[in-house]
């Protein structure tokens, strides 16, 4: 019998040949074969011994204190042939008793020695190929995991930036190859203010992406209930603690901006402090606090600042400040502040930051995700006009809503866009009357209209739980064939007639927000599935 053992390894050995073997044919041998395991530990002195062995060795010549030698002896091994190539022991041949029951002759040993010289390099080659395949599979697994992480992360980054009255928003995100846990979000609050969030999860890959997704969802759901940034962080921290893995945490900055006054409240959970550019001077919004997910019961101080017309705020992740160059130097806060000082606009700041960081780190792999979000207050301030009214939930009042909204936004939209908005308003109001408020005339439908130089936003509120969603996308072929009811066009029309439809909760009211840009062209930002997203939206700039 012959068995090739790789050392150190677990191998199976087939024993063949017994005294009474009538005919050593293959089937008969298979029938008497017995598998054994021989584990040669890396610390087994047998390895050192065989490394310098001159050739085939009787089992009795092996060190008696070797556990592997003892085990081989127990299992009938009589001869061991070390397989050595390039001075390295890569395996061994283990042989049981000869079928003839004679001892191994000198000729046998020469033959085995010769065989070992051919077998050793072949075995080594096989080992190398196996290692390479294993490495390739591992690389593939890691790449797949990174791809999944990237997909998760992109799923939770804004697909488009909202239009903010009088403010200009710009954002850039580029994941590192290993995918960190950066995220940002812009949440329009029911009271018209805007919550801007940036965060960074420690760790990388899928674990970071999952925590990022979880944090993102907690921030969104919390912002629907409370809007004070410190309280948002406090609640999210307490909700995150039970679910975040050990040794992971999340840095997060929350700003709540009143678009009309520039009054900005903010709180910080260990994230980079945002820079503010005002009149050529760079300052930072100072706020500190414990990262999320570290300590139950953490509280977060709330701070307030007034953002004036033309001010630019930069929110950023440490992927910028902690990026190294080829000499090992970090980009740092000073370089970042210098970029802010030289900025002429939010877009300009993002563009120049990306360029500067690229030049700085040329020849070095991007170490972490890079996120940049800028907010720039326009000269015109916030919304030009805001009007609100209510109507009772009586059938037909949707037309009153439509006509009054049309009167308020008169002149702001082209004829076609106004007609489209009117139909969307009418349909949304009808949904609020008939389904949200269930036709109860004691319940009002609330209507808020905001006009800016760049857009019209109409918010229609009711006391229901949400829009009545049709079960199926209306399909006229199915309707004509009697396979769908003739009705069910309302939401379909709304979604196709305005630029954006959103649903939100404001206290006990459910609100549908319809947004219509004054320009005829559709938005030109579609970061979609791109790994690199750079978006901006401008609205309400002074003429």
């Amino acid at each position: 019998m012959t068995e090739m053992l790789e050392a150190p390894a677990t191998v199976e050995k087939q024993r063949r040949g017994t005294r009474r073997a009538p005919r050593p044919t293959e089937p008969a041998l298979q029938a008497r074969a017995a598998a054994i395991d021989v584990q040669i530990e890396a610390s087994d002195p047998l390895l050192v011994f065989l490394q310098s062995a001159p050739g085939p060795l009787e089992i009795g010549a092996l060190p008696a204190f070797s556990p592997a030698a003892a085990r081989m002896k127990e299992q009938g091994v009589q001869m061991v042939v070390p397989l050595i190539t390039s001075g390295e022991l890569v395996g061994l041949l283990a042989l049981g008793a000869r079928l003839s029951e004679r001892t191994y002759s000198r000729t046998d040993k020469r033959l085995l020695d010769s065989l070992a010289r051919y077998a050793a390099p072949a075995l080594r080659l096989g080992q190398l190929m196996r290692d390479q395949e294993k490495e390739a599979r591992e690389r593939e697994r890691i790449e797949q995991e990174l791809h999944v992480a990237q997909l998760i992360q992109q799923q939770f980054l804004p697909a488009e930036l909202p239009e903010l009255g009088g403010w200009h928003v710009s954002a850039f995100y580029r994941p590192a190859r290993t995918v960190g846990g950066d995220f940002y979000d812009i949440i329009e609050l029911a009271d018209g203010r805007v919550m801007v969030v940036t965060g960074d999860v420690t760790d990388k890959g899928v674990p970071a992406a999952l925590v990022m997704a979880s944090t993102h969802a907690l921030l969104r759901s919390t912002a629907a209930v409370v809007t004070a940034p410190g309280e948002v962080l406090r609640r999210v921290n307490d909700l995150l603690i039970p679910q975040i893995p050990m040794n992971m945490f999340v840095t997060c900055l929350v700003l709540v901006v009143d678009l009309e006054t520039g009054r900005t409240q903010f709180a910080n959970a260990g994230h980079n402090l945002p820079f503010v550019l005002r009149g050529g001077q760079v300052t930072r919004l100072e706020a500190r606090g414990m990262p999320l997910g570290l300590m139950p019961g953490s509280v977060y101080d709330e701070h307030e600042a007034e953002i004036e017309p033309d001010d630019i705020i930069l929110l950023y992740s440490d992927g910028i400040t902690e990026q190294h160059d080829t000499d090992g130097e970090m980009f740092g806060f000073d370089r970042t502040a210098a970029l802010v000082a030289a900025a002429t606009s939010g877009d300009d700041l993002v563009d120049r930051s990306v360029d500067a960081l690229g030049a700085f780190s040329a020849g070095v792999e991007q170490e972490d995700d890079i996120t940049l979000v800028t907010l720039q207050r326009g000269r015109s301030g916030g919304y030009h006009d805001t009007a609100s009214f209510t109507v009772p939930s009586a059938p037909g009042n949707e037309r009153e809503v439509m006509d009054r909204v049309a009167a308020i936004v008169d002149g702001a939209l082209s004829h076609d866009r106004l007609e489209a908005l009117k139909t969307a308003v009418s349909e949304t109001a009808m949904n609020a009357i008939e389904h949200g408020n269930r036709g109860d005339a004691d319940l009002d439908v609330t209507v808020l209209v905001r006009r800016t130089a760049a857009s019209v936003v109409v918010e229609i509120g009711d006391y229901g739980r949400g829009r009545r969603h049709e079960a199926d996308i209306p399909d006229i072929d199915l309707k004509l064939a009697g396979l769908q009811p003739a009705r069910g066009w309302g939401l379909f029309l709304v979604e196709r007639l305005v630029d954006r439809v959103e649903e939100l909760t404001a206290g006990d009211r459910h609100v549908v927000r319809l947004a219509m840009s004054v320009s005829d062209g559709p938005g030109d930002d579609d970061p979609g599935g791109e790994a690199v997203a750079h978006m901006s939206t401008r609205e309400g700039e002074a003429p």
């Binding site: 349909e427 004509l480 069910g488 066009w489 029309l493």
Partner: protein, 107 residues
């Protein structure tokens, strides 16, 4: 009633002139208009929207129902006088795949 109608005949075309609003209250008037139009066994029923000031999603559903009846009777439906906006709505609902649209009103 939010919707009124008049039915005239032009060769094998039954022309239905609609006036007012096509919404939830227009169901009876539309059904009556269609019945009056089909009584002449026309090859084409032409709905004239020149004097229609408002059509909502319920009105679209009523028009879909009329179209289904017309198709069952192998009668062609045609729409005239749609504004650009309602022509757009006919397009996004794909009513325009089944109803021939003639001469939208320029605005």
């Amino acid at each position: 009633m939010s919707l009124r109608y008049e039915v005239g005949k032009r060769g094998d075309i039954a022309a239905v002139r609609l006036t007012g609003t096509i919404d939830r209250d227009a169901g009876d008037a539309l059904a009556a208009a269609y019945a009056a139009a089909e009584s002449a066994s026309p090859a084409v029923i032409e709905l004239d929207f020149h004097a229609v000031d408002y059509v909502n999603s319920t009105g679209i559903a009523l028009i879909v129902s009329l179209l289904a009846r017309a198709r069952a009777q192998h009668v062609t439906m045609r729409a005239v006088g749609l504004t650009a906006h309602y022509q757009h709505i006919f397009e996004i609902t794909r009513l325009s795949d089944f109803i021939e649209i003639v001469q939208p009103i320029p605005h």
